[in-house]
């Protein structure tokens, strides 16, 4: 029930903030902050209370299920395991930062802004929690609309175009996933007689190869666009650079992670055969993404666009690791999701701080800021180093684990992926060089970080250092989920059960299927 409360608090808080926005402009900020903080506290509490031996069989910490549309076998089904828990922690932490950073930046329609912000967070939390595929699609869309508003209303100069592009890319790919979900539903229904959208029942379905490949393609469409993987990435630089700071933080820190989460949670365990067949191509796409993103990042002049392309590069590691199918790589992927959320979030926040002071994102108009804003400089240095993978900071652990894991799967591609680290050094140092070092441009002295800005930046520094020096708690929390996602690969089934095909029902047939849902009984 606590899981449902998280969603209820966020959604109710959003509505409340909207209403409060009619009274004054500070109240919505506090409502949003309190609601998100309450969710963070609940999640942290769950993490601390986590039984020590989660790597035993039952790795599901808690579960909440209540029927929603029983005729179709749809239930409101939430479940929490280590992976979801880590993602929720990241969500609420970045959510709080997003609210804090908007404190001064957003001054129009404050109530509606916080409504959208909280609903995006609710949608994202829903995606990380739900174990019913219909509900998953539902939340997948719920996080889309408020994000569209965030970009379209409070974004920068070219916001309308960016918002359109974001919306249409993600919606198109999402609809393909919906087709696959429906296909899966009927395939499972015909072969077992149980029509349900329950993840735990669908996960064991075995398909004829071509059916499996088609169904997987639908899921991949949604997740690869969201991640994004290179040929489908073109929405990302526009959306990231045009969104307000809070929007960019949530986009880069959280929305991209839903794609990675989808790969881990759905594609890997549900379609083991099809995924293995697709793996070399996926890894190739990952490597192309790493190098292509890095090269483009190096040549950007818009600071937010630059950071956006580093995301493309970093997300290449995610897909590389996911399709290596071993524990090391998957642990690396999960670390990458968290550390990338923190480090890229921090870089977008810095871009926001600079934009506040200079009203430009063009790095050609910056330079030599170190002397006037040393605190900002230090924090920027930390995250630039994190982004290039300096040992001692979280991103190093993530990329290292991913590369070790993928080496076992594919040597040559890993070699090229490693080259990406060199490229990362180039573009990361360029950020430092152009903005904080070099000759002092004729700017009036900038104000250094205020207390509020320090409150945003310091926790990020602490976390990224902690993840770099002592990542073990995170790895422990994730381990049980990782092994569960990989079950189909480590212990392949001995006897192949009858393979499911989709049967056609004639359009004038009179047979009436009873679409019955069965609630899942935990063992």
């Amino acid at each position: 029930m606590i899981l449902a409360w998280i969603l209820i608090i966020l959604m109710a808080g959003g509505v409340l903030a909207w209403i409060a926005g009619r009274l004054n402009t500070t109240l919505p900020r506090w409502i949003a902050l309190v609601a998100t903080f309450a969710c963070l506290c609940m999640t942290v509490y769950l993490w601390i209370e986590l039984p020590a031996s989660t790597d035993a069989v039952g790795n599901w910490i808690m579960r909440f299920q209540t029927p929603w549309i029983p005729q179709w076998g749809i239930s409101f089904h939430l479940a929490l395991d280590g992976l979801s828990l880590l993602m929720l922690l990241l969500t609420f932490f970045l959510g709080i930062l997003a609210i804090l950073t908007s404190w001064r930046e957003i001054d129009t329609k404050v109530g509606f802004f916080h409504f959208n912000l909280l609903w995006v967070l609710a949608g994202i939390s829903g995606v990380f929690l739900t174990m019913d595929l219909f509900l998953f699609y539902f939340f997948w869309e719920v996080m889309l609309i408020p994000m569209y508003f965030l970009i379209g209303i409070w974004g920068h100069e070219n916001r309308t175009y960016a918002a359109y592009k974001f919306f249409i890319f993600t919606q198109a790919s999402g609809l393909l996933m919906l087709l696959s979900i429906l296909g899966l539903y009927f395939v499972h229904g015909y072969s077992t007689g149980v029509y349900t959208f329950n993840y735990f029942e669908l996960v064991g379905t075995s398909f004829a190869p071509e059916v499996g490949a088609l169904l997987m393609a639908g899921f991949l469409a949604a997740f690869l666009v969201k991640l994004p993987v290179v040929p489908f990435h073109s929405w990302l630089p526009d959306a990231h650079s045009q969104a307000p700071t809070a929007g960019s933080v949530i986009l880069a820190g959280l929305l991209l992670k839903t794609g990675a989460y989808g790969l881990l949670r759905f594609v890997i365990p549900m379609f083991p055969d099809a995924a293995q067949a697709f793996a070399p191509w996926a890894m190739l796409l990952g490597v192309i993404g790493i190098l292509y993103g890095a090269i483009l990042a190096f040549s950007q002049t818009d600071l937010k666009r630059l950071v956006a392309y580093t995301s493309v590069s970093h997300m290449g590691f995610v897909i590389l690791g996911v399709f290596a199918f071993n524990e090391l790589a998957l642990q690396g992927v999960i670390m990458q999701m968290i550390t990338h959320g923190l480090s890229t979030g921090a870089l977008f926040l810095l871009a926001g701080f600079l934009y506040d002071r200079l009203h430009t994102r063009d790095i050609r108009k910056m330079g030599g800021f170190w002397t006037s804003v040393p605190k900002m400089g230090v924090i920027a240095l930390v995250f630039v180093m994190a982004s290039l993978g300096l040992p001692g900071l979280g991103n190093f652990i993530a990329e290292f684990l991913t590369l070790v894991g993928s080496w076992q799967a594919n040597n040559w591609l890993t070699v090229f992926a490693t080259l990406g680290l060199v490229a990362a050094t180039a573009y990361s140092l360029r950020i430092m060089q152009k903005i904080f070092l070099g000759n002092t441009a004729n700017h009036p002295a900038l104000a250094d970080l205020s207390l509020r800005e320090l409150m945003i930046a310091v926790p990020l520094v602490v976390l990224i250092l902690w993840l770099g020096l002592y990542p073990q708690p995170v790895l422990n929390t994730a381990r049980a989920s990782v092994t569960e996602q990989l079950q189909a690969y480590t212990n392949p089934k001995v006897a192949e059960p009858a393979q499911a095909m989709l049967q056609t029902e004639a359009s004038d047939s009179l047979t009436i299927h009873t679409l019955k849902g069965r609630t899942y009984e935990p063992k």
Partner: protein, 484 residues
């Protein structure tokens, strides 16, 4: 005609009686308010009469009518929709000088025509219902005759509808000439006994599709839609988009399944082509529209295309999906045209895109309702449109109509573009201060406003908790499926 027949036809008799009563009232004294209240009462009376017969198992009034679950469901839907249109009409027509009273008579008659369509099982009643509906619509469309475009719209509809009726009649004649019967089930029997489809019969069916397709506004019989939608008064546009199309969809389902059309791949092919063409033409033509009413007209063309996907899927899931989608589409269309109605002023309808600029900041509630309606048309979760679209896709996947299903998905994406375009206009910064309109007494807006609120709540309620509606449809359609 037995007493039982009268009892079962009571909803229609109430409507017909109400229309006559209204007409006599106009002869005595013209009062807009009394006409309005009386029309509402007639609708409520018809709904009560319908409630009385809700649990029937297929009752046939030989030879013209049949009342089964499908009929009861669609009658209810049509009556409720027409009631909502009536409720929205008062504030709209009160602002205008023209004589307003006849509008309600015509509206009742048009509703009667649609109701006859829904329950007919015979070519004679089919044609009568269609003509009652069409003739009332001719005058409804051109009702505000001093307006610039209303004559054009009325005459366009008159000529095209008369043309398509002629096609339909000729088609019916050919089918009758071959099969020797005018009852739908009789045609079905004839078809199942004959080996192959007669060329003459196929021609007959083809000509009938012209008539049916015109009323549905599907490609290639869609040319009238944008002009008529634009020229007609906003409440009438809402009526055309919903009741007139819904009645024809119900008839099509009944005719097609009773005559056994699903057995003929040729027929399915024709409808598949129509469906795909409607989806694409509607969506592509809507992309560059700057006029809201025209945009909604094109969007409704494509929505009828979506609807045909489930119609082609046939079987129980398909019919359920069509029924569910109709409900969602009705709520959404009523809501969208309702917003246009509310925002319209004395001289013209609020149909330009720039009338909506910054609406979210000027009139937040109206804009929020309009956004919800547009998102529902686009099929976004939390709205009825999403569950409806999901139902359509499920029906399509269940029958493995992959081509149609993929086309539906592609078109949903194209459609998104123009729906969010309108939304983006609404949250843009408003232009310079507009001069405030002269408003009527707030009581006049109360009914319109509360109708819109009810529609918005229904939209979200069906989107979040579709169980009730699904069970209702499921229960009512059992008798229809069993009757086959």
């Amino acid at each position: 005609m037995s007493r039982n027949d009268l009892l079962y036809l009571m909803p229609l008799l109430v409507l017909a009686g109400g229309a006559i009563l209204n007409m006599l009232l106009v002869a005595v004294k013209r009062t807009h308010k009394i006409m309005y209240v009386l029309t509402i009462l007639v609708h409520i009376g018809a709904l009560l009469a319908l409630y009385n017969i809700k649990n029937i198992t297929a009752y046939t009034v030989y030879p013209l009518f049949i009342l089964d679950g499908l009929a009861v469901f669609n009658l209810g839907l049509i009556l409720l929709t027409s009631l909502a249109v009536t409720l929205l009409s008062y504030a709209y027509f009160e602002q205008r000088e023209e004589r307003k009273e006849e509008y309600y008579i015509l509206l009742l008659l048009a509703t009667l025509g649609a109701c006859v369509l829904v329950i007919s099982r015979h070519f004679a009643s089919f044609f009568l219902g269609l003509e009652v509906l069409s003739v009332s619509l001719y005058s409804l469309i051109a009702y505000l005759r001093t307006r610039e475009r209303s004559d054009e719209a009325g005459i366009k509809y008159l000529i095209l509808a008369a043309f398509s009726s002629a096609f339909l009649l000729f088609g019916m004649a050919l089918v009758y000439a071959v099969s020797g019967t005018m009852e739908f089930s009789g045609i079905g029997n004839y078809l199942s006994s004959s080996r192959e489809l007669d060329t003459l019969l196929l021609t007959g069916f083809g000509l009938m599709i012209v008539g049916i397709g015109f009323k549905l506004g599907v490609v290639p019989f869609h040319m009238w839609a944008p002009d008529v939608y634009q020229g007609a008064p906003a409440p009438v546009t809402a009526f055309i988009a919903t009741v007139s199309k819904g009645g024809m969809v119900a008839l099509l389902i009944r005719f097609f399944s009773q005559a056994g059309g699903y057995r003929y791949p040729d027929m399915l092919l024709i409808f598949t082509i129509i469906a795909i063409a409607s989806m694409f033409a509607g969506n592509l033509l809507a992309l560059r529209q700057k006029n809201i009413k025209r945009l909604l007209a094109y969007s409704s063309i494509s929505h009828l295309g979506y609807l045909l996907v489930a119609f082609l899927a046939g079987n129980k899931l398909g019919v359920e999906a069509v029924s569910f989608y109709l409900v969602a589409y009705f709520i959404t269309s009523l809501g969208a045209f309702g917003v246009v109605t509310i925002l319209s002023d004395k001289d013209r309808d609020a149909d330009k895109l720039r009338d909506y600029r910054g609406l979210l900041w000027r009139r937040p509630v109206t804009a929020a309702i309009f956004i919800a309606m547009l998102l529902s048309l686009a099929g976004i979760p939390l709205t009825a449109g999403f569950v409806g679209k999901f139902y359509l896709l499920a029906a399509g996947v269940n029958t493995q109509l992959w081509l149609l299903v993929v086309m539906l998905v592609i078109n949903s994406v194209i459609g998104l573009y123009y729906y969010i375009k309108v939304i983006a206009v609404m949250f843009a910064q408003p232009n310079a201060k507009r001069e405030p309109r002269k408003l009527l007494h707030p009581v006049f807006y109360l009914t319109s406003g509360s109708t819109m609120m009810v529609l918005a709540l229904l939209l979200v309620w069906v989107g979040i908790n579709p169980n009730g509606l699904m069970q209702l449809i499921h229960g009512l359609l059992d008798t229809f499926i069993a009757a086959r």
